[in-house]
């Protein structure tokens, strides 16, 4: 970075990229130590295999701990134009359900949900 | 700047610590880990003092004076705390003062007396140790008596530079030792004795002094080391038979209480059985003992005869860099004034 303008341009660039991404379905998985200890890695692998098998183009994002350690592992599902929904205490099996039920069919998996995130 | 200690108005210079100012003025603040040659360690906490306007006591060895400071060094609450400290040290100490060779010259013992420690209230487990270390001809190391003042470790590192000894483990398991408990010789110990000189307890003891005499029976005499040219001032500790039991130091001199192996442990030659004790005269290739009269006469006769017969320059003398100034003066005067020659030299160059 040699100037402020350079940073501002980069910021704009990135922001528009993120906006574009928002037009796609996203899975956001908590990958802090608490999440990983609770099995987030297995969930991530399961999600990725599942997405591949179903040939779904979904952005999988990793993020840090949101604070709800008790409910880890946490996965959020965000469909374009819709509210981001957090699921918690997931097993690998649960994670697959998120894909089949919420991602593909738009049905919130009520027994796993923690909360929705209103922007 | 001016400050007050125990009600006395005192003069001090900036950068001095409370302890330094107190010592300069003859105020005795207890301390175990302090040494003027070392960076203050602040470990033993014995030198805590109260400063007016400061809530908790501070250590006098680490606190610099400031103008107008009002210090108390011996309040009832400080005494109480120091007593606890001494008890804590004694609780983890091999208390065998009745037979300890350090008794009478032991700071821990002195402070126990000063703060009236009759019974230790906090008896419990003691730090495990690996036996008394006797791995060299000069001194022993007895961790059971170590109170971890760290002076030995710091001297070894900060003054000697070798850092042959160090701490092992941490917390309650901390011990002073060598790497993997190797013998001192194997880790470059120079046997300078700095650690032994400053050990406040019986944890480091000169072997020559073990089971020889109580400290109060020893006579101390100051002397100058006869080895190299530094001129270290030393104290000979002499027993009733004029035997040198150990060599100690005090800090106000060229060597600042420091020694090397020769000065600290190598002066016992004085009492060697091998010393010459009588004049000897050689007859038919063998020496026999003689009286001073006879020996001196013989020397005088021969030197006089040769001088008279061949002139003074037929005689010569080697004076000595081991003898005193006065003796060297007399030797050259002897050769010049009595023998009439300038052929006097010594091994300055060797």
């Amino acid at each position: 970075m040699r100037s402020v303008a350079e940073l501002d341009n980069l910021q704009k660039e990135v922001q528009s990229k993120l906006e574009k991404q928002a037009e796609q379905a996203q899975l956001i998985i908590g990958m802090g130590t608490c999440g990983i200890s609770a099995g987030a890695k297995d969930i991530l692998t399961a999600l990725e295999t599942e997405l591949e098998e179903r040939e779904l183009e979904v952005i999988v994002k990793k993020t840090g701990c949101i604070g709800l350690c008790e409910k880890e592992p946490l996965v959020d599902v965000k469909l374009p134009g819709e509210t981001r929904v957090t699921y918690g205490n997931l097993s690998v099996e649960d994670a697959r359900r998120l894909i089949s039920e919420h991602l593909e069919n738009g049905n919130i998996v009520r027994d796993l949900v923690v909360a929705k995130m209103e922007e | 700047m001016k400050l007050t200690i125990n009600g006395e108005k005192l003069e001090a210079t900036e950068g001095q610590t409370i302890l330094e100012v107190a010592q300069e003025n003859g105020i005795d603040i207890p301390n175990l880990c302090y040494s003027p040659e070392l960076k203050p360690e602040g470990a033993c906490r014995m030198c805590v003092v109260d400063i007016e306007g400061v809530a908790d006591p501070v250590t006098a060895c680490t606190t610099e004076v400031s103008a107008g400071m009002v210090v108390e060094t011996e309040t009832p609450s400080l005494k109480k705390m120091r007593k606890v400290l001494v008890e804590l040290m004694l609780a983890n100490h091999d208390v065998e003062c009745l037979t300890c060779d350090k008794a009478g010259d032991c700071k821990l013992q002195d402070y126990a007396y000063r703060y009236s420690v009759k019974k230790v209230r906090f008896e419990g487990e003691k730090t495990e140790f690996k036996g008394i270390k006797d791995d060299n001809p000069f001194f022993i190391r007895d961790n059971r008596k170590c109170i971890l003042c760290y002076k030995c470790v710091n001297l070894c590192k900060q003054v000697q530079g070798e850092a042959s000894i160090n701490l092992e483990n941490r917390g309650f398991d901390t011990r002073v030792t060598t790497a993997f408990d190797l013998p001192l010789e194997e880790i470059n110990c120079q046997f300078c004795g700095l650690c032994v000189n400053e050990c406040p307890t019986g944890a480091l003891m000169e072997k020559s002094a073990l089971r020889k005499a109580r400290n109060w029976e020893l006579k101390k005499g100051s002397t100058i080391c006869p080895y190299c040219g530094v001129g270290c001032e030393l104290e000979l500790n002499i027993d009733e038979n004029d035997q040198i039991v150990k060599v100690t130091t005090n800090s106000d001199n060229v060597n600042r209480g420091q020694t090397c192996v020769k000065g600290k442990f190598g002066l016992d030659f004085v009492n060697s059985e091998e010393r010459l004790t009588k004049p000897l005269i050689k007859e038919e290739g063998r020496f026999r003992e003689a009286s001073w009269e006879e020996a001196l006469d013989k020397v005088a006769d021969n030197f006089g005869r040769i001088r008279d017969e061949f002139g003074g320059d037929a005689t010569a003398a080697l004076s000595s860099a081991k003898c005193t100034n006065e003796e060297n003066y007399l030797m050259q005067k002897f050769m010049r004034a009595v023998m009439g020659t300038n052929s006097v030299d010594h091994c300055a160059r060797l």
Binding site: T33, C34, S37, C69 | K157, A163, R170, T178, A179, I187
Partner: protein
């Protein structure tokens, strides 16, 4: 048999490994701890000869290196098990019964906290909080975390690692 084995281990101590590690560092004392960490990762512990090598390289005394190695709980001067079982003793784990988990592990493996099994398979060490308090009580076996444990889970976990 044991002594023969030990001799054998000593003979096999390969000092070229530590020498290679040392080459990557400037000869400054600030590198001592990183060097010890890397060295321990390589040897599994810090053998005496290796520490001597480190001391000579950095130009600091052997006893100083030893002092540092014995100060930090991460460093070990004795060989350790292939699987290190870290039992979290943090507050959260403590109140949720970590001590019972530790007891169970000690009983199952027949070693004390800090000890290593004779076959060099397992080492148990109790550690301060590993920060997975939400899963208390927690143990880690090498990099795997096992949480929300009861003593009954212990044998099963050990079995996964070849017990």
């Amino acid at each position: 048999m044991c002594s023969q084995q030990c001799d054998c281990v000593e003979e096999e101590l390969d000092l070229t490994l530590v020498k290679e590690i040392l080459e990557g560092y400037e000869k400054k004392q600030k590198n001592l701890i990183p060097i010890l960490q890397e060295t321990q990762a390589e040897y599994g512990y810090l053998p005496q000869e290796v520490l001597k090598e480190v001391a000579d390289y950095l130009g600091i005394s052997f006893s100083q290196v030893y002092g540092v190695a014995t100060f930090y709980s991460q460093f070990y001067l004795e060989p350790r098990g292939e699987y290190i079982i870290r039992v979290c003793m943090g507050t959260a784990c403590h109140v949720r019964g970590a001590a019972k988990i530790l007891d169970e592990l000690e009983g199952e493996l027949g070693i004390e906290d800090g000890g290593t099994t004779d076959d060099l398979l397992f080492t148990i060490e109790s550690v301060a909080c590993i920060g997975a308090c939400g899963l208390a009580p927690v143990i880690m076996v090498n990099d795997d975390t096992h949480g929300r444990l009861t003593p009954e889970d212990v044998p099963e976990i050990l079995a996964q690692y070849g017990e």
